[in-house]
Symmetry: C3
Subunit: 128 residues, 3 copies
C-alpha cells in the first residue's frame, strides 16, 4: 500500500512536476496521499500545462519569505522552512481505474526550496 519515489531536484528552488512518476507507482483505486518527509521542501497541486505557472508560484513564494529578511535559525534556509509550511507536506488525490483522477489542468509538484538534492515522496493509499 506504500511506495516511494525519489526525485533529483536540479537547482536551489524549483517546482518539479512529478505527476508521471506518481502515476507509475500508484496501484489500486481509492484516495492516495503523497507525503514529503522533508522540512525544506513541500508538495502542491497546481497547473501543469504551462510551466510558467509553477515559476510564478515559486517567484511569489520567494517574495513572501525573502532571503534577506531577518531570521534567527543559523543555517540560512529559514525561507525554505517558511515556504514548506505555506505549501504543506502532503497532498491527497484520487486514483480511479488505475489512473490519477486529477482535474483537467492539475499536476502534482514537488516543491524544492533548498536544493539541489535528492528528495523522497511517499505514496500511501489512505482510503478505499
Amino acid at each position: 500500500m506504500s511506495k516511494e519515489i525519489s526525485v533529483r531536484t536540479p537547482s536551489r528552488r524549483v517546482l518539479v512536476d512529478i505527476t508521471d512518476e506518481v502515476a507509475r507507482e500508484v496501484n489500486g483505486d481509492g484516495t492516495w496521499m503523497a507525503y514529503v518527509p522533508h522540512t525544506t521542501a513541500g508538495i502542491t497541486i497546481n497547473e501543469g500545462a504551462d510551466p510558467a505557472v509553477a515559476r510564478d508560484i515559486l517567484a511569489r513564494l520567494e517574495e513572501l519569505a525573502p532571503d534577506d529578511a531577518d531570521y534567527e535559525h543559523a543555517e540560512g534556509n529559514s525561507p525554505a522552512h517558511v515556504m514548506a509550511t505555506l505549501v504543506g507536506s502532503s497532498v491527497l488525490f484520487a486514483v480511479e481505474n488505475g489512473r490519477l483522477r486529477l482535474g483537467q489542468w492539475q499536476a502534482i509538484f514537488l516543491c524544492e526550496f533548498d536544493g539541489p538534492r535528492t528528495r523522497r515522496v511517499e505514496l500511501t493509499k489512505v482510503g478505499g
Copy 2:
C-alpha cells in the same frame, strides 16, 4: 463513497461557505475529503459565523499575490494560481452520526480566485 457538488461562484474572487451543501451530500461516518479539481480555486476551513472573516482572508491573499506583480504566465491569472497553492486543494473533516463534526466556529469554504465560474467539489470518504 464519492459525491460531487457544483458551486456557482458569483464574482471574480470570493470565499463561498459550502458547509450546508457538503453536509447534505456526505453519508456514512468517518473521515471525508473535499477536493477541488481546479487550479485557480482552493478550499479552506475557517470561521463561518461572521462573513467578514472570509472577506479579510481573501483581502489578505490579494495582498500576498497582487494583480500588479510581475508574472510570466500569459493568461493573467497567476495570482489565482498562487492563492490556490497557499490555500490548498483539499480539506479533511469528520462525519459522526451522519453530521459534520467541525469545530464550533468552523465552516468549509470554496475559495474562488478566478471567477465567476461553476466549480466542482469532490467529496470522498477516505477512512472508517
Copy 3:
C-alpha cells in the same frame, strides 16, 4: 480510532511541538490525521531540531498577516484567521510499528495564533 489531545498554549502566538503527545496517543499502524477544530489556530509539520525554525516561521506569518493591516472583522483577530488558512487545519502522517514515521527533521506543531488558550487536536486513523 479517534483520540484527542489538549494543548495549553503559553502565549498569544507560538508554535508548540506536539510530536511527543501525538506519538503517545496514536495506536495502530496506518495513516493518521491530526485535525485542529479551531479557526485561529492551525497545524503544520516542520523542523523540530532547532526551535528557532518555528520562531522564524511564525515571525514570517506575522509579516504576511500584520496586526496593523486593514481588517473588517471586528474582533481584532483577523490576522490569526488568515494564518490559520495559510497553514491549514490538518496534517497527515504515517504510523509504522506503533511509531510516527516522520522525516528525520520533522515534528508536528500546533500553531497558536490567538492565545493563550487550551486547544484541542483530534487524532483519527484514516487509512489502513
